[in-house]
Symmetry: C2
Subunit: 235 residues, 2 copies
């Protein structure tokens, strides 16, 4: 029964106040890591490769970061920094919620490796907090009170993440497929042969571009979730 405390990068000061002269800074390291991640995915990020990209020895990073997970926490927060969370006072709570939802999705689709980090890492960085604060404001303005503010907030982000993460997985699974994926669909239909209803549905989606279908699916779900939340407000 070890009683080790949980530790996040955000719980301690960076070793470099980000403005000194020699050596590297967190910013450089994070930027290089993002480049590597965007180019090669999560599996492509190793401490050695990142060190090499920075023109440094493989293990020099350990002076700036306690371990790889801390590095991941840092790049994870960058993701949150790319999200647009508009002021609900200006656009109304429903619009604000819609916009942030679409924005979250877009960011994940842009940085596909982030899908693997979401829900694995705690989101305690400054950017995450900024977004969380803004969405909280959004649901407060909508009329929620007390814990319901957080519940509504959690419901929306759960939907967005739950919808988007598998999208990324499917995309990467089908990467390298030249055709529109007809033979894949056929194979899947064969596996589902025991369930006539299911396999009918699979073949039926034949003619649609998967990207527009997912877009439609996301919109359908989003308005449903927002309607459902709105329903909590009428008392």
């Amino acid at each position: 029964m070890t009683s080790k405390q949980y530790n996040s990068v955000w719980f301690r000061e960076p070793r470099k106040p980000a403005g000194s002269s020699p050596g590297r800074s967190r910013e450089e390291i994070v930027a290089a890591a993002m480049e590597l991640l965007d180019a090669e995915g999560l599996a492509g990020l190793s401490m050695r490769k990142l060190g090499a990209r920075l023109g440094a020895g493989a293990t020099s990073l350990y002076w700036y970061v306690a371990h790889k997970d801390e590095l991941l926490e840092l790049v994870y927060d960058e993701i949150w920094g790319e999200m647009t969370a508009p002021d609900p006072e200006e656009v109304g709570w429903r619009n604000a919620a819609s916009i942030v939802a679409h924005s979250m999705r877009q960011v994940i689709l842009r940085h596909r490796w982030s899908a693997d980090l979401i829900g694995r890492l705690p989101a305690l960085g400054p950017n995450s907090l900024m977004v969380a604060d803004q969405t909280r404001k959004t649901f407060k303005l909508a009329g929620f009170a007390g814990a319901d503010i957080d519940y509504a907030n959690a419901t929306l982000t759960a939907f967005v993440f739950g919808m988007t993460i598998p999208e990324v997985a499917w995309d990467t699974a089908m990467a390298g497929y030249d055709y529109d994926g007809d033979d894949l669909r056929q194979t899947v239909a064969k596996v589902a042969a025991d369930y006539p209803d299911l396999s009918d549905a699979i073949s039926a989606t034949d003619y649609e571009d998967p990207r527009v279908m997912r877009e439609l699916c996301f919109d359908f779900g989003l308005v449903s979730v927002l309607d459902g939340l709105e329903r909590r407000l009428v008392t």
Copy 2:
């Protein structure tokens, strides 16, 4: 531009028809893998350790499975096998949806390693398909038609997964905390100091058991999602 086809374990026959005499079978391997996963988590499952547990050489597994990902596909489908998807004809579509949602959540909380697999692996095993077929039936019975059936289906599971995966992450992050986590909450509040609203909310949840709070949050979100979906039906 390599045009490698996507391949799932489920797209090819197992090497053993599961009833022969010598050697191991997929069933044994999967069962042992599940034990290892439940005991040590995803990081604790290595081909070498699994081989050892089966009293075999480290690399003997490669005769039954093409690579580790295939093994993961197999154990992943076991997860789906533990879910309860009741017949909507008997309990009504809303009940059926509620029950399957809670069941999904419970299964994930029971096998925490599955949280890392969801959305990373395609769900094409027999158990996944059975659940998918049943939930499709549920939304069909509710009155959805065409693509909307799948959209509603996707919305519900997105919510459940998006809600539950982070739950697991928080739990494992705080594993080893003896106290009720007061000091953690304090630390988090300090990090969020710039956002008075947010940090107030964090301290306000003080007295509650996180487990019951999550339960409440899940229920709140679930009825919201179901209400929202139901709203799509009135035309």
